[in-house]
Structure formats: structure tokens, C-alpha cells
């Protein structure tokens, strides 16, 4: 019968209209600045640099704790080329105690970044991760969206906060690597002493 | 000048304008517009004569004008349909270029 579908549709919308005053199910909108939905753990917006606040170098500041060693893999892999890294002249010991370069400059232009997460995938040092911060609007179109390494640096605790499960996994992996590295160092030390002893003998 | 003479003069002027347009314009649609103006001038005459005539309650002039309006609508529809068909056939509405009877 002609018009049957129209009546069905009208009933449905009427249910929505009146239902929205009674049931929360029919009024799913969240009034954003006042009310927020907790972000999903897998949410990702733009990358940031992780630093360890209780770090190997003994410092608690962001600069000494950056995990980044300026290997520039992310810079090369970045599809829209929004990362700019300048390697340092000198070396500093990294989390595993090895002497490494560190980024003298590390800029990400988030107006170019497309949130693809490739930099995170390729980083061998777990130094770059995705942030969930999305309220980034600024009045300065060019300078305000070009983040330098100070703005990018966020602590490991913050990483735990936004991606708890992932961060725990990363920590465990890093700890395992550290133990391995120490063991290696010990082995090489032992080998050295053995060789010295052997030479002495 | 009596009011009726004024209306008749306006109608005559409008008729002449429409006639001049119909005779001088190139575009077929504008010729139709001229014919419409002439028909309207006639309608004005009819209504004016009805208003100032001896027996307005007989409604003769009014009826004539109403029928004329209805006929004009039909005429416009058919005329414009013809113009569209001519345009489709000859790719022009310029009457000076439509001087052949061969299709």
C-alpha cells in the first residue's frame, strides 16, 4: 500500500523525538567541552617524544632523558616529510649505557603530519609514540603548529597514562634489552679479564 | 479626455509597441512576446469597454477578456513549443536565417 513506508518512518522518528526526552539511549550526544568521553586506548593523534624521568644519566629533566638517538629513520620514513632532525655533534650515554648521538633539533610540523604512525612503527628505540591530545588549535598558523623537541617531549609516566597496556609492554621490552646489554657488557668484561689473566698466565 | 479614451489610448499604444516588436525583432521568442503584448492590449480594451459600457452587469466584456486570457495561455504554450522545435531543427531562433522551406 502506498504511504505505508512513510507512516512507518514517521512513527520511528516520532519515537526518537519523544524518546530523547526520556531515555539516554535516544540522546547519545555528549556536550563536548563540559562532558567528555574517555579516549580509547588505541586513540592516536600526533607523535611525541618519550623521555625517562628517572634515567640512566641520573637527571630528571626532559633533555637528558630523551630516548631518541637521532638515528633519523623516522625522518626518512615519514610520508609527508613533516619531521626535521638535526644530529648533535657530541655523544651521550643512552638508556643502555652506550654512547649515542642525541637530537640537537627535533621538529614536527603537525599541520603536515597525517597521523599515520609510521614513525612509531619504525623507531627501534621506542622513542616516539602517538599522543592522544587533540585540542591543539592555536592563533599562530605556522609557528604554533611547528612543535620543537621541548614541546614534543613527554614523560614515560604520561605515556603510561594515555596508553597503559602498550606502555607496560614497552617498559618490559626495554628492561629485557637492558638486562641483555648488561649481560653482554659483563660477558665482554669477563672475557677481557680472562684474556688479561690468560696473557698474564 | 474621458477615462475610457485614456484606457483606449494606452491599449492602442501597447498594441502598436507589440506590433512593432513582432515585425522588427529577429528572435522568434521576442516575436511571440510582441504578439502577447498585442493580445493584452486587446484585453485592456475589452475590460475598459465593459467598465464604461452601458450594461456592465451583463459581463460581456469581462467574459471576453477571461476567455481571451485562457486562449492566450494555450497560444503561448503551442507557440513556444514550435519555437523549441524550430531551434532543435535549425539550431537557431533567428527569423532572418529561417528563409528556406527546405528542411
Amino acid at each position: 500500500m502506498l504511504g505505508e513506508g512513510i507512516i512507518k518512518g514517521m512513527v520511528e522518528t516520532a519515537k526518537n523525538f519523544f524518546g530523547s526526552y526520556f531515555s539516554a539511549e535516544r540522546l547519545t550526544t555528549v556536550e563536548y567541552p563540559e562532558q567528555r568521553i574517555a579516549p580509547y586506548e588505541a586513540a592516536r593523534v600526533f607523535p611525541f617524544l618519550v623521555f625517562d624521568s628517572k634515567n640512566h644519566a641520573g637527571g630528571t629533566d626532559w633533555e637528558s632523558g630523551l630516548r631518541c638517538v637521532a638515528c633519523q629513520i623516522c625522518e626518512k620514513e615519514c610520508p609527508p616529510k613533516c619531521i626535521f632532525i638535526e644530529k648533535s655533534k657530541d655523544k651521550k650515554p643512552d638508556a643502555l649505557g652506550r654512547l649515542q648521538f642525541y637530537p640537537a633539533r627535533f621538529d614536527i610540523d603537525i599541520s603536515v603530519c597525517m597521523s599515520c604512525q609510521i614513525c612509531v612503527e619504525v623507531c627501534p628505540f621506542e622513542a616516539i609514540k602517538m599522543d592522544t591530545e587533540f585540542e591543539l588549535s592555536t592563533e599562530d598558523r605556522f609557528g604554533g603548529l611547528l612543535l620543537d623537541r621541548k614541546q614534543l617531549a613527554k614523560s614515560n609516566q604520561y605515556y603510561h597514562q594515555i596508553h597503559p597496556a602498550e606502555a607496560t609492554g614497552v617498559d618490559a621490552k626495554l628492561a629485557a634489552e637492558k638486562i641483555k646489554a648488561h649481560a653482554k657488557v659483563k660477558i665482554t668484561d669477563e672475557a677481557k679479564t680472562a684474556a688479561i689473566a690468560g696473557a698474564g698466565a | 479626455m474621458t477615462p475610457l479614451a485614456g484606457y483606449l489610448l494606452v491599449a492602442a499604444l501597447l498594441f502598436s509597441i507589440g506590433l512593432a516588436g513582432a515585425l522588427t525583432r529577429r528572435n522568434a521568442i521576442l516575436v511571440l512576446i510582441g504578439i502577447e503584448l498585442m493580445l493584452n492590449a486587446a484585453n485592456l480594451n475589452l475590460i475598459a469597454f465593459w467598465r464604461y459600457g452601458p450594461h456592465p452587469e451583463a459581463l460581456t466584456g469581462m467574459m471576453f477578456a477571461i476567455f481571451s486570457i485562457a486562449v492566450a495561455a494555450a497560444e503561448a504554450a503551442v507557440g513556444l513549443g514550435l519555437v523549441i522545435q524550430i531551434h532543435r531543427h535549425a539550431k537557431t531562433t533567428d527569423l532572418d536565417q529561417m528563409n528556406r522551406m527546405k528542411g
Binding site: 502506498l2 504511504g3 512513510i6 514517521m10 522518528t13 526518537n16 523525538f17 547519545t28 550526544t29 | -
Partner: protein
């Protein structure tokens, strides 16, 4: 007291006019009424935009505007300030004079329609003998404004939108007129006040509105469909289909001229709903005889707002039609139904009182509806859609 309430606006007008010399009183009275109409309906328009946005939002499980003022009710003020302060852009190649005249003509013709609408007992600006004809003459003139807007913009989208709008308005004007003619046939008058008075009496406390007769109900349905198309409202809003034509004929309008188009569209909706109320829903008469003490203008405006609510409800429910569906529906379903309805109304008029005419008239209309509806349903072949891409 009840009479005073009912006639409060008429008395107010008389009182205000009485300060003037006698020679000016008629003109001043008319001016005052015009001013009231010109102030009232834009205010109603402002209110309706908020209600429409909130209602649509509720239908779509949203909240709608609620930031400006209490519950968002100052939103139209903000919108008005915004459109007034925006730059008025006229495209370089546009026809400046026609471009300027189009919105003015639209608003003027739309407001002219209110002149003959009785908004309450004794509340009509001019009680024309040919009131309904005047109303439709004004409605027909607004089509030209739409064409002027679309053509003068020199924009393909505008022109397409205008042509769609004009074609649609012309096609649906036929059923609009035919569905109203039924009422004229039964009442025997084109005067809208007479039409209301013919409906303003009661049997067993129930009113003699034309919608409560078989031909009136069918006529009202056809009228509602035709008005929805005539005012370019969803589901017949192809002329301004934003997904294909940007905004149709007012694409190139900005600032206050755009606001005028918006105003014209809504005021046309009010006036055509007012006409529908007058023709089929008894105008300003009360729905039950024991409610006649309520002022007549309250009834008129509540019926008006109810039909606006239905407009919004339909907009929230139905998807937009395709152009061929629109035209097919007008010429192959609505028009035959309207023509049949004319005959049924004649039958009703000459069958005399009694239950027989109810049965016969309802049966004819119902059969025609089912038959035409089945034909309409069979014509739509539903199948897998085929897409064609540009090569």
C-alpha cells in the same frame, strides 16, 4: 470579557487609530495591520528556526543548538547579527539589477499572501471577494523571483537549482489549485472569510471542518503534498539539494540578501500552512464547541504551528526524491487523485444528506488511492543499482 480577549487586536487597532483625524483612519488602520503582519511573521520565523533545529536534532538523537541564551533561544539573534554584518557579495559577471531585485520580489510577493488570510474573527486585512485567487496569483509570482535569482547569478548551480525549482513549482501548482478548488465548490465562494464561516458550526460538539469529510480529507492530503513541493521543503527539496547543487538558486547570495531568501522561504511556509488551515482545518474556529471561549486567533496560530511541526517532522523523516520521481508523482498520482476528488466533491454536493454519500464518496476515493498506489508501486523497479563512472 471573552469577547474582548477574542477581539483584542481589533480593539487595539481601533483605539490607536482613533487618535488620528477621521480622513486618515482607514489608511492608518491598514498600515497598522500591515506593520503587525510584517513584524509578527519574521519573529515567528526566528522562533521556528530554533524549534526546527532542535526538533530535527531530537529526531536524530542530538541536542541541537543550546548555547546562545537560555536553551539556545537567542540563536536566531546571533544568526541575524551574523548575516547582517557579513559582506554582501555580488559576483562580477552577475546581472546586478536582477540579482538585487530577486530577493525583494520574493519577500514582497510572499508577504502579500497574508493580506487575505483571516487570522481570527474579524482579523483579515482585506476581505477580497476573490481572496483565494489573489493568494494563488501572489504565489505564482514568487516563481519568477526564484528564476530571477538563479539566472542573474550566472552560475551553473544557481541556474540548475532555479530551473528545478520553477519546474517543480509549476507542476505542483496544478494539484495545489485543484485540491483547493474542491473547497470553493462546496462553499460556493472564493472569499476566505466565508470559507471559514462555512466551517464554523458544530454537531454534537464536533466541528464541520472540511477535513472530516471524504473529499476534504483527500483534498487535504493532496494539498499537503503540493504545499511541501511548492515551498521546496524536504522531501521535495531538490532545488536546493546541497549534495548536488550547493544551495540551488541562492548559491551566489550572501549576507542580508541570503537572509531575505531564507525568510521568504519560511514565511511562504507559514502563509501556505495558514491557507491550508483556513481551507481544510476550519481556520480560526475551535475544534470542540465547548472550547469556543478561547480567542479565535489562538486557534489559528496553534493550527498553523501544528502544520509547521508536521513539516519539520516530515523533513526529519523522508529522504529526498529524484527529479523523475518527483514529476511522476505529481502528474501520475497527485493530479489524477485531485481530478477524481473534484468529481467526488460534486457527487457529495448533489447526493444530499445521509450516510449513503459518506460510503459512496469514501469508497470511490479509497479505491482510486489503492489502485493508483499499486500502479505507482509496480512502476518502481527495485534492483541492484548500476553505477557509471566518467571515463
Amino acid at each position: 470579557m471573552i469577547d474582548t480577549c477574542d477581539q483584542i487586536f481589533v480593539l487595539l487597532q481601533h483605539w490607536l487609530v482613533s487618535f488620528l483625524p477621521a480622513a486618515w483612519q482607514t489608511a492608518a488602520g491598514v498600515l497598522l495591520s500591515v506593520a503587525a503582519i510584517v513584524c509578527l511573521f519574521p519573529a515567528l520565523f526566528a522562533l521556528t528556526t530554533v524549534f526546527e533545529r532542535k526538533g530535527l536534532a531530537r529526531i536524530q538523537n542530538r541536542l541541537g543548538p543550546n548555547r546562545v541564551g537560555p536553551f539556545g533561544f537567542f540563536q536566531p539573534i546571533a544568526d541575524g547579527i551574523k548575516s547582517l554584518t557579513k559582506e554582501d557579495i555580488v559576483p562580477l559577471s552577475a546581472d546586478a539589477a536582477v540579482h538585487f531585485l530577486a530577493p525583494v520580489l520574493l519577500v514582497v510577493t510572499v508577504f502579500m499572501g497574508f493580506a487575505v488570510l483571516p487570522m481570527g474573527r474579524n482579523m483579515v486585512l482585506v476581505d477580497l471577494d476573490a481572496g483565494l485567487l489573489f493568494y494563488f496569483a501572489m504565489g505564482a509570482s514568487s516563481e519568477l523571483a526564484v528564476f530571477m535569482a538563479g539566472w542573474s547569478s550566472r552560475n551553473k548551480y544557481s541556474l540548475l537549482g532555479a530551473m528545478r525549482a520553477v519546474a517543480q513549482m509549476i507542476s505542483y501548482e496544478v494539484p495545489l489549485l485543484l485540491s483547493s478548488v474542491v473547497v470553493v465548490m462546496i462553499t460556493g465562494s472564493l472569499s476566505l472569510t466565508k470559507i471559514v464561516e462555512a466551517q464554523n458550526h458544530y454537531t454534537w460538539g464536533l466541528p464541520h471542518w472540511y477535513i472530516f469529510t471524504p473529499w476534504g480529507f483527500a483534498g487535504f492530503l493532496m494539498y499537503a503534498i503540493a504545499t511541501t513541493a511548492e515551498t521546496n521543503r524536504s522531501p521535495f527539496d531538490l532545488p536546493e539539494g546541497e549534495s548536488e547543487l550547493v544551495a540551488g538558486y541562492h548559491t551566489e547570495y550572501s549576507g542580508f540578501k541570503f537572509a531575505l531568501f531564507f525568510l521568504g522561504e519560511y514565511v511562504a511556509m507559514f502563509s501556505i500552512s495558514g491557507l491550508g488551515t483556513t481551507l481544510f482545518l476550519g481556520g480560526w474556529s475551535a475544534p470542540f464547541s465547548f472550547l469556543t471561549w478561547v480567542p479565535s486567533w489562538i486557534w489559528f496560530f496553534s493550527k498553523l504551528m501544528l502544520s509547521i511541526f508536521v513539516f519539520i517532522w516530515m523533513r526529519g523523516t523522508l529522504p529526498r526524491l529524484r527529479q523523475d520521481q518527483l514529476m511522476n508523482f505529481a502528474w501520475k498520482f497527485v493530479l489524477p487523485m485531485c481530478l477524481l476528488n473534484l468529481m467526488v466533491a460534486g457527487l457529495w454536493r448533489f447526493m444530499g444528506d445521509g450516510w449513503l454519500r459518506w460510503v459512496v464518496c469514501s469508497a470511490i476515493l479509497l479505491l482510486a488511492y489503492v489502485g493508483l498506489g499499486l500502479g505507482e508501486m509496480r512502476r518502481q523497479r527495485l534492483g541492484p543499482r548500476s553505477y557509471r563512472y566518467a571515463e
